[in-house]
Amino acid sequence: MGIVTPGFRGRRSEEAAELPPGQYLTSDFPVLSAGPTPQVDLDTWTFTVTTEGYEQTTWTWEDLLALPQEHPTVDLHCVTRWSKLGTTWTGVSLDVLLEDVETAADFVLVHSYGGYTTNLPLEDLLDGQAWIVHELEGDPLPSAHGGPARLLVPHLYLWKSAKWVSGLDLLTEDEPGFWEQLGYHEYGDPWREQRYSGD
């Protein structure tokens, strides 16, 4: 147990007991990003998967919408400590997008419009754990929250769910992304409180 601060009582709720360590509940939806919000035109939007052999598969906005859509309802955990429960998204499972991609890669570097990157193991994108989403609560995803489309990997801290996603590089060796180079954890499991490098 940490050092007790006299007079601090805090606020407890049953819901908060269900949260990962160090998180608190919020009902609004804060935003964290390192620069201006990119404005991405749907007419030129693409999502590209590049394998370790530099083979590319590209989807346009129409292509994405033509794929089977799922509606995951998930909890979000941001490394800045807020959690938001029960958000519902619309998008395409990475299982669908990667189904016909031939690869022996174990790692992924995610790219975004605006230059943001983040890395994670490929297996964390598969088996129903990740989506490219374009709707939040039934409405088009606002640009401040990553629209037109973002990655959603809700079992990791939210910085892994790259906003304004533009593609994935499948890699045989792990390569740190933007926040991962700046001292944040390489994996980012909220339940093990992997916030910063070495946690």
Binding site: D28, G114, G198
Partner: protein, 245 residues
């Protein structure tokens, strides 16, 4: 290397505005930090319940003495306690420094960034003040311009110090924008900082200018978008946003 939790003791509290206070904390063993970085604060109750929040550091590295400036949010679990409940001598725990992107130091970027534009909304001024103070303490003459949006004159955090530094420090400009109530004699009626107005208050875009924008999400989105429309490159704008508690 893992970031450690440090025991910290409140050594001074300064009221900045009716709802904002600066807490001066002694943190033995603190490893140092850069202006713009933040810390995690952990509070633990007697029964073992604990909770954590992030706060920007308000001053440059002064060894074992840190400053955070906290705004009491009405329904917040932590901030009203920090602003009103924590007593000099009380212990808390700190972890950090955190964040390596939203940083500026008069030493580290000399020659790369020649002018620094700071755009603050409300308590978003806190990490920017660490940069203003770092520049002052280093005797730097790097041109620095702070555009600071506040609701009323009474809401200006660090008002006296900003006033003094703007007069004393060569190359430092402080431009206040009041959104709800302007001071008597102000030539500008109270109102939001528009993109057009920001474009006139900011330097014209140039390769040697870097902008740091900090404040509530809506403010940062509008200000950053305004700078982009004024011709700033995305890469020249660094942002830090905060939501409510």
């Amino acid at each position: 290397m893992r970031l450690s939790w440090y025991p910290a003791t409140l050594v001074e509290r300064r009221a900045e505005t009716p709802t904002v206070a600066t807490l001066v904390l002694r943190v033995p063993g603190w490893p140092g930090h850069l202006p713009g970085q933040h810390v995690d604060v952990r509070l633990t109750a007697e029964d073992g319940y604990s909770t954590q929040r992030s706060y920007s550091l308000a001053a440059p590295d002064h060894g074992a003495v840190l400053e955070i400036t906290v705004q009491a949010l009405g329904d917040g679990e932590v901030s009203p306690f920090l602003v009103e409940g924590l007593v000099v001598g009380d212990p808390v725990e700190l972890r950090g420094p955190v964040g390596g992107w939203f940083v500026w130091s008069p030493v580290s970027v000399a020659g790369l960034v020649d002018r620094v534009l700071l755009v603050a909304g409300g308590s978003g001024v806190v990490p920017l003040m660490a940069m203003v103070r770092a520049r002052h303490e280093a005797g730097s003459t790097v041109p620095m311009r702070l555009v600071y949006s506040v609701r009323t004159p009474a809401d200006v955090i660090y008002a006296d110090e900003l006033d003094r530094l703007a007069k004393e420090d060569d190359g430092l400009e402080v431009l206040l924008v009041h959104t709800r109530e302007a001071p008597p004699g102000s030539g500008r009626p109270a109102g939001r900082l528009s993109a057009d107005e920001l474009a006139t208050l900011a330097w014209p875009p140039a390769d040697d200018v870097r902008a740091y924008v900090c404040g509530p999400t809506a403010f940062v989105d509008a200000a950053a978008a305004g700078l982009v429309r004024a011709g700033y490159h995305d890469a020249a704008i660094r942002t830090e946003r905060f939501g409510g508690e």
